[in-house]
């Protein structure tokens, strides 16, 4: 199950959130070698992990096996502060109903099997879509390797580029926007063979995150 963690229910997930930051460090610094993110306390936390940040934590048997985060585009976020140059053609979308989605990770030992249809990766993407529809988030912005776009498209996400691809190390990356709506959710669930909801809202009281 994928747990939604916000400022409201964070106190219920302190340990798991800490595990998530440690896993982010293991993966982004340890595996991917993004040295700029290295911290002496072995937790990957940056200036965009704030009280406004919303986390999705995939938890199995009490252990965090995957996660991601949403940052409001009405506040400083990764794309606006560090990568705005990648969105100069279409311009960076900012709005109370648009959230930036970043730092998606899956624990190493679960990665291989997470790739199968209906596996953890699909569930997380279904969860992201479900969350957006629940909360009235009209689209998410992303910074992704171009090669991921193919898979995202195949599950039903209509990835719209915001600029030309940029070469970073050995990969091409793009800034993109993915519209979220009920039709997308239906398509994603169908394409990923997922029936029903995947999100858990523990200690959250149905509050919408944007002014409706």
């Amino acid at each position: 199950m994928i747990h939604v963690v916000t400022a409201e229910n964070r106190h219920l997930y302190e340990r798991q959130l800490d595990d998530a930051f440690r896993l982010r460090h293991d993966i982004y610094v340890g595996e991917r070698k993004w040295e700029a993110l290295r911290r002496s306390d072995d937790r990957e936390i940056d200036q965009f992990d704030t009280d406004d940040t919303i986390y999705h934590l995939a938890i199995e048997d009490g252990q965090v096996v995957g996660g991601s985060r949403f940052c409001p585009t009405t506040r400083p976020h990764l794309l606006s502060e560090l990568f705005a140059h990648m969105a100069t053609v279409r311009g960076l979308p900012t709005s109370p109903t648009i959230y930036e989605h970043t730092r998606l990770f899956i624990r190493k030992d679960r990665r291989e099997e997470s790739r199968k249809r209906g596996g953890l990766a699909d569930q997380m993407r279904a969860g992201i879509t479900e969350y957006c529809v629940d909360e009235g988030i009209s689209s998410i912005t992303l910074l992704i390797e171009l090669f991921r776009m193919t898979h995202m498209y195949s599950i039903g996400w209509k990835v719209r580029p915001l600029g030309l691809p940029e070469r970073v190390e050995n990969e091409f990356w793009i800034a993109a926007e993915v519209p979220m709506d009920y039709e997308t959710l239906v398509n994603v669930r169908q394409n990923c063979h997922i029936e029903g909801r995947v999100l858990v809202h523990e200690g959250l009281h149905g509050r919408r995150i944007h002014a409706a």
């Binding site: 100069t88 053609v89 898979h151 580029p161 030309l164 691809p165």
Partner: protein, 247 residues
């Protein structure tokens, strides 16, 4: 002032928006051909390879826009087995110009032969963009007589190719399909034939395009030959029928 990057960027994003609306593989290929044509590419392919028993790599083309003559030659002579572009596309996901596909002409004369004969068929300069999917190893490969590629153009082509490829899979799934898109005219020839189809004389076209009459004659003759037409009137008819130009 618009920078080249912004111009290319707009072109790329326009193209990807355009692809979104397409509902048939033929329409998608028509749009892809048109965009690639503006860069100077006259032919392209969405190729796929799979590994069969014994580890041999075989081609499973899923959408092609090679000229019929080239395709026939390639298939009959099993050029895939020695094609350095196909090999490189399988080895690495980095986009590359055909001239960058490595082979040693002394150790591997058959590879050299493939590149030489491609040149003879008008595929003198090419660009290949490998794309991996969950289960296959694909490539969007394009070629033309004369192409000038700068860094911005490459980024644009890469983005367009990824989108066209994703859309193609959405439209045809995993079934191999032969959608023939045979463009034989260069953009310059197409432009000239379009004016002819509109009823302009050679002289009028030369004025419109700011070229000499001789240059216009050259384009018309070249187009007539490529379209296997008897004369320019016949050429216009053939260009319309084969959708090289639209009314």
């Amino acid at each position: 002032m618009t920078t080249p990057a912004e111009t290319y960027g707009r072109l790329a994003l326009q193209a990807t928006d355009d692809f979104e609306k397409v509902t048939s593989p033929a329409a998608l290929m028509e749009r892809v051909a048109r965009i690639l044509g503006t860069f100077g590419y006259t032919q392209f392919i969405f190729g796929r390879t799979k590994v069969i028993e014994g580890g041999k790599i075989v081609p499973v083309t899923f959408i092609h826009g090679w000229s019929p003559a080239w395709r026939k030659h390639y298939v009959e002579n099993k050029l895939f087995d020695h094609d350095p572009v196909a090999l490189q596309a399988h080895k690495s996901l980095t986009p590359f110009e055909w001239s960058e596909a490595p082979y040693d002409p002394e150790q591997n004369p058959r590879a050299a032969a493939v590149m030489n004969v491609a040149s003879e068929f008008g595929l003198r300069q090419g660009y290949a963009i490998p794309i991996a999917t969950d289960h296959t190893s694909d490539v969007v490969s394009m070629a033309g007589e004369q192409v000038d590629l700068d860094a911005e153009a490459k980024r644009t082509l890469i983005l367009i190719s990824y989108y066209a490829h994703a859309k193609a899979i959405g439209l045809v799934g995993n079934r191999p399909i032969s959608v023939e898109y045979d463009r034989v005219l260069t953009p310059a020839e197409r432009e000239t034939m379009s004016w002819l189809a509109a009823g302009k004389t050679t002289w009028e076209i030369s004025v419109i395009l700011h070229l000499s009459e001789a240059a216009i004659f050259k384009r018309i003759n070249s187009a007539t030959r490529k379209l296997n037409a008897m004369n320019r009137t016949h050429a216009v008819a053939r260009a319309l029928i084969t959708k090289e130009i639209t009314p």
